[in-house]
Amino acid sequence: MNQNFLSVKDVTFRYFEQAKRNILEHVDLEIEKGKIVVLIGNSGCGKSTLAAVSAGLYPENAGQLLSGSIRICGRELSTIANSERAKLLSMMFQNPDLQFCMDTLKKEMIFCMENICVPKEEMDGRIGELAEKLQIEELLDRNIHTLSGGEKQKAALCCLLLMNPAGIFLDEPFANIDEASTRKLIAMLKKQNEEQHTTLIAIDHRLDHWLSAADEFIVLGKNGQVLQGGITVETLPRYRELFLQEGLFYPEELPEFQPPEIGQTILELKSVSIRKGKRKEFLIEKADASFEKGRITALIGHSGCGKTTLFSVILKQKKYEGTILLEGTDVKKMKPQKLFHRVGTVFQNPGNQFVSACVQHEVEKSLSIWHPGLGEEEKKERVFRLLEAYGMKQYRRYSPYMLSQGQQRRLAVLSMLVGNQQILLLDEPTYGQDARSTKAIMDQLLGLVKEREMTVIFATHDLGLARRYADRIYRMEGKELIEWKN
C-alpha cells in the first residue's frame, strides 16, 4: 500500500510559455499520510506555486506544467474532479480577505457543502455540530467583512474542517495575524490532525510557531528544490548553518530588550482619542506617547487594533480629540502640504501609492512635487544617484507593479526620501517578507536613521521584529497605548 499522502515527481512548471526560467524545476517531494509537515523557503523560491500545483489550482488557472506527475493518496491528480479533490486536499490562503464568496460564515459553509454535494437535510446538523465543537457559534451569522484578521482566518479554517478533507495545504496562514490567534489556530489544527489523522502541509517562512506541532520540516531552495527533508524539532540545531546560509529565519532566544535613555522628542501625542468610524465607541482612548528624534519606535498590536488609524490621525486624515505636537507645533494648525513635507508614509500595500508607469518616473515625480524649482538634468541625476545607492538601478524601466512586494516597499521608501522628510511612518513594513528581505528593508531604515538622523515609526504585529530593531516599543492593548518593557 502507498503510505504517501502526496507525492510530487519531477514537476517542472512555468507561468508563461515564453518565460526564460521555470518557477519549479524537476521537483520531487513526498509527504507521509497523517503528518504535520512544514515547508520553509525564501520568498520567490516557488513554494506557493508548489502548493497551488499540488492542489490542482495550477495549471488550471495559470501557467503550464511542462513535466512530471502529482499523486494524492495514490491517485493521479488530473483525473480527479474538483468536488472530489476538495475532499482529498483543500487549501487555506495567506490573505484573510480573499477566501470567501458569501457574506456570512454560515452561508460560506453552506456553499462549501453544496460544492461537495452534501444533501440539504444534513447541512444544518453538520454546521451545528462543528460550531459547537470549535466554539464559533457567535461567528456564524456575523458579516465576514466585520471580523478581525484572526477571526477571518479561523472562519476560513472552519470551512475547510467542515468538509473534512484528508489533507490541508496551508499557504502562510499566519502571515497577517497576531500571535494569540496564531496559537489558537495551531491548536485547532493539531487537534484535527490527532482526531481525524488529517495530513497538514504548511508553508511558512518562520517555523517558531510550529515547533510544538510539526512532525517534519523541509527546507526548499531555488526553484522549489528540496534542500533538506526529514528535519525534526530534535535535529533542528544541526541545520542552523543551512538556515542562515539560505537567509531563513532561525528561531533563537532574543537578547533582553533595553530601551536607551530618553532623547529629544519630535512628535508627541497628548491624550489623543479616536472614535471607531462615525460611531461613538472609542478605538483608542486618551493615548499619550512621545517619539524621539533619530530613533526607531515600534507600534505593536494585533491586526485591526487601530495602528493604521493612528497613522492616519497623525497625518490629519481622520478626526481625533486631544493634541498632537510636531516639534512643538500643533498638527491641527499645520497646512497638510507642509505636514506631508515633514512626515512621509509608506502604507501596508505600497501598490496603492504609485503614480507612474516606471520606477524612474516614480522617483522623479516625487522630486518634482517636493522640489518644484529643479532643472530636468539635475532631477535625472539625483534620481539616478538614489536608485543606484539603493540597488534599484537595474529596475528603473520596470513598472512599479512588476516589482516584488519587498522591492515595492523599498521603492516607496525611496520616493519618500527625495522629499527629505524627517519622520517616516511605516505600516507593517515587513508584511509577507522572508528573513532576507526583512533584513534588507530594516537595514535600509537603520542606515537612514544613522545618516540623516531620521525618525522612524513603524507598526507591526510581530513582537520579535520590534525587539530586534526598535529603540522603543509601544503596545496597543484594548483601547490603550502602553510602553512595552520586556
Binding site: P119, F347, S366
Partner: protein, 245 residues
C-alpha cells in the same frame, strides 16, 4: 412583495416597462406611480428613508424635464393651419402653451413611472435571492452566479481599498479630488489580483463551475408569482388602450 420569486418579478416589471415605453398617457403613468408607491408602502418591508433617498433624484430629473418640455416643445400637436387661422395672438400663445404643458407633464410623469417600477423591483429584492433565482429559474450557470456573488461581497473591501489609495496619494503630496483617476487605477490593479485569489479559494473548496451540486435553498415559482405577472401585464395593456390621455 418580498415573497414573490425575484426572477418572475423582474420579468413582470421589465415587460411593464416595455409596454410603458410604447404608450403615451399621463393617466397611465400616474396610475403606475400610484400603484408602485402603494405596493412599496403597504405591501413591502422597504424603508421609507431609503425610498425617499432614491426618489428625490428621480423627482429632480422629472421636474427638470417638465420645464424643458414646457419651454421647448415644437407644438406640433395642434395643426399649424388651425392656429394660423385664429387671428388672436393671445389664443395662439395659449394653445401652444397648453400643448407644451401637456407634453411636459407627459414626459416628466413618464420618468417618475419608470423610476417607480425600478424602485419597486430594487427595494423589494435581495441581490443574493435574485442571483439564486436566476440560477434556478433561468438556468444561469453556477460559475457566473457565484462569481457575481463573490464580487458583490468584495465591494466593502474594494471601497476601503479605494479610500486607502486616495489617502496614500494625498499624503504623497498629490492633490486628490473625487474624480481623480489615478487612485482608481491603483485600486483596479489590486482588484484584478484579488479576483484571481478568490477564484482559487473557491476552487480549493471544491467549487466546480459546471459539475453537480446540491442546494440549501431552491427558489421556486408559485401560483401567486404567475398571478402577479398576469395581473400587472393585463392591467397595463388594458390601460394603454382604455385611457385616453
Amino acid at each position: 412583495m418580498e415573497k414573490l420569486n425575484p426572477f418572475l418579478k423582474g420579468v413582470s416589471i421589465l415587460v411593464c416597462g416595455l409596454i410603458l415605453s410604447f404608450s403615451y398617457s399621463v393617466l397611465l403613468n400616474g396610475g403606475i406611480i400610484a400603484v408602485s408607491l402603494i405596493l412599496l408602502l403597504f405591501f413591502s418591508k422597504a424603508r421609507l428613508t431609503s425610498l425617499v433617498k432614491i426618489l428625490v433624484p428621480a423627482f429632480v430629473a422629472a421636474v427638470s424635464i417638465f420645464f424643458t418640455g414646457m419651454m421647448f416643445t415644437s407644438g406640433s400637436a395642434i395643426a399649424p393651419e388651425a392656429v394660423s387661422k385664429v387671428e388672436s395672438l393671445n389664443f395662439e400663445v395659449m394653445s401652444y402653451s397648453m400643448t407644451s404643458v401637456y407634453n411636459a407633464i407627459q414626459l416628466s410623469s413618464r420618468i417618475l413611472a419608470f423610476a417607480g417600477l425600478g424602485v419597486l423591483f430594487a427595494m423589494t429584492t435581495d441581490g443574493e435571492e435574485f442571483v439564486k433565482s436566476l440560477m434556478h429559474q433561468c438556468r444561469l450557470k453556477p460559475k457566473y452566479a457565484y462569481g457575481v456573488l463573490a464580487a458583490f461581497h468584495l465591494l466593502p473591501c474594494i471601497r476601503e481599498e479605494f479610500a486607502k489609495a486616495q489617502m496614500a496619494f494625498r499624503v504623497r503630496g498629490i492633490p486628490v479630488t473625487p474624480f481623480s483617476m489615478k487612485p482608481v487605477f491603483a485600486m483596479l490593479v489590486n482588484t484584478v489580483h484579488w479576483s484571481e485569489h478568490v477564484a482559487m479559494a473557491m476552487e480549493s473548496k471544491g467549487f466546480d463551475g459546471e459539475g453537480a451540486r446540491t442546494y440549501y435553498t431552491v427558489t421556486v415559482i408559485r401560483w401567486y408569482d404567475w398571478c402577479f405577472l398576469a395581473v400587472t401585464v393585463s392591467l397595463l395593456v388594458s390601460g394603454t388602450f382604455l385611457l385616453p390621455f
